[in-house]
Symmetry: C2
Subunit: 366 residues, 2 copies
């Protein structure tokens, strides 16, 4: 059973793309390799970096044309080559995140830490580097079909709703990975999450599922109720005076996941929240360099870290974990035909807490 | 068997103390508590912070008068109170490092992570906070006798030479702790050590003993031969162009221990040396705040950390470890009577790699 893929999607063609100006059109998929799969897209989450790319923040949109963004893709495999990874079969449900290829030859790839491969391809607007596909530009999930290497098409386990799986593929694994690395719930019993948004709400869900006491940290009280429902047991409304807001919570957290990325981050103000041997981990790029005094870093035996997405094995582990713990990101679904309404709404900050686009004609359910 | 302690030492009285101007005189020891010990000092290492205190870098020397510095103390217990810790007995050899007390009541103390106690006392020029001794100023090891809490007088295991033990008590444990925390030789197979000096040479010895491949990183080639003898298998002479020097070693290190603390540290230049998930750990305070771009931190999943000395249990583990691995810091010994020659020589950078002062009249061996 195989359906011939038709590669059509919502293309960004100029810097107004994100303002409701994506054009539905055909595009050239990756050139076929025998470890590739074709996937009929059912769902695709909208992530901040789609909006960044499509609004020209990362360079003029027409540098790569057409831009088919979207990198939280869930769909059904419709074609498998002669040498698939992951034991993938036609008909299977799979998810594709922000990374869609790697060199397979470096130490990182051999260790299955493909997210550290220096030659990785990201899932949208990035050239593939291997085989027939070398030079093909990656095309994401704001489309009817996706084609790419099967290693990066992660099978969904039984019991995982495919719409719920979508936002986990980039946003979810981005916070799952540092929570796992720094031992949320075990070594890091007390976890702070800065920012209650797309990534932040998943960090609260996951950290709580791992058994941590979660403190949600947000600008105002407006997300307190949601944060508590998501599993936070404490909430800090920062207001305008961080020092004052943090003082009653000094030395209370083993790990802070910072999902907020303002243009400037006064990281020194956050360090007093950490217990000794604690880690402040950023998952979003802050444009202005951080300024860090070494005295509190040393006296507190603290660390300031970054973390970048997760590898396919981490996505698999996360999938199993959310099924086991019955964790479900909070999503709002839009028919993908409505993408030109969904993107401006996303840009206004409307998601509570993740938008997922649905290809109803492919069998996705609103 | 008990000898009555006579508290005399080499006192810093003014900002010229470090230039050969320490005065041998009596001083008032800590007021006795029943968990205290008196220790007849045999050896005391000279550490950078003794020189900092005695040269007025930390405020005028006569703010605390007399300053009896020295915090790498090894000696023989001559008096034990009615409630000693560590099972300490008269006649036993013990070592005292940079910390000499803590509150015993906070969570850190209860976890035996006393080095994170917010009310800790350091071993020199710092007020004790408990019992009869409350308000007594701590006096260090540039003296004939030391008195203080037995919890911080760590028994030397059989097989550990007491002169060799001295520099381990501050410099040694300061690097042992992050090497242990970040898994040198196990999770962190490849360890870089910046600075081949007092702390750096012990970091090389210890990391090599833990089974790591050690890369020594120094300004010039002058310490290459020593570094290789200490156990390094690679050496980087940085010269004036860090980027060029580091390029052939890009992404080669899991952990960097930075023992160098210049007035300004271009930490961004060092990050490319780290493998993904690597840690750059500072153990010495750098006066100017670090400037850190978040992009390489996130893309490399890297961490910048600090680490502050070690607790008594860590010192005990380190003692056992160096005996087991036959690790010996490289020391030059001076009769403590010669302290006014030793300190200026220390200040000139003469140690290869640690000076240890010896009280020959107390039984210390030159």
């Amino acid at each position: 059973m195989s359906t011939e893929a038709v590669f059509k999607g919502w293309a960004g063609l100029d810097d107004k793309a994100c303002q409701g100006n994506l054009k539905f059109q055909e595009f050239e998929p990756k050139k076929w390799d025998e470890d590739d799969v074709d996937v009929k897209i059912l769902y695709c989450g909208i992530c901040g970096s789609d909006a960044s790319a499509l609004s020209g923040e990362w360079g003029p949109v027409d540098n790569v044309c057409p831009q088919i963004c979207g990198h939280e893709i869930v769909g059904e495999v419709t074609k498998v080559g002669t040498s698939p990874d992951n034991g993938i079969k036609v008909g299977q449900l799979v998810g594709i995140g922000a990374q869609s290829d790697s060199c397979r030859e470096c130490d990182n790839c051999k260790d299955h830490k493909e997210n550290f491969c220096p030659k990785q391809a990201i899932t949208f607007n990035s050239p593939y580097g291997r085989g027939n596909g070398k030079g093909s530009i990656s095309r994401g999930g704001f489309a009817k079909y996706w084609r790419g290497p099967s290693r990066f098409a992660i099978p969904l386990p039984d019991g995982l709703d495919p719409d719920i799986a979508a936002p986990l593929l980039c946003g979810g694994v981005t916070v799952f990975t540092p929570l796992e690395r720094y031992g949320a719930g075990t070594k890091a019993k007390n976890v702070g999450v800065i920012g209650v948004g797309g990534l932040g709400h998943m960090a609260i869900l996951l950290a709580n599922g791992m058994g941590a006491n979660v403190t949600a940290i947000s600008r105002s009280d407006s997300k307190k109720e949601d944060a508590m429902k998501l599993g936070a047991s404490n909430y800090i409304a920062m207001g305008d005076d961080l020092k004052k807001a943090f003082e009653p919570h000094a030395r209370s957290l083993d790990l802070i996941i910072c999902t907020s990325n303002p243009s400037e981050l006064p990281v020194a103000d956050y360090l007093p929240l950490l217990k000794p041997e604690g880690t402040f981990c950023l998952v979003g790029i802050v444009p202005k360099p951080l300024e860090i005094s070494t005295f509190p870093l040393i006296m507190g035996t603290a660390a300031i870290a970054g973390s970048n997405i997760g590898n396919p094995d981490a996505i698999s582990r996360m999938f199993k974990f959310v099924v086991e713990k019955n964790i479900k990101p909070w999503i709002q679904k839009w028919d993908m035909e409505e993408i030109n309404k969904a993107m401006p709404s996303f840009q206004k900050g409307d998601p509570r807490y993740r938008f997922v686009l649905v290809n109803t004609d492919n069998g996705g359910k609103l």
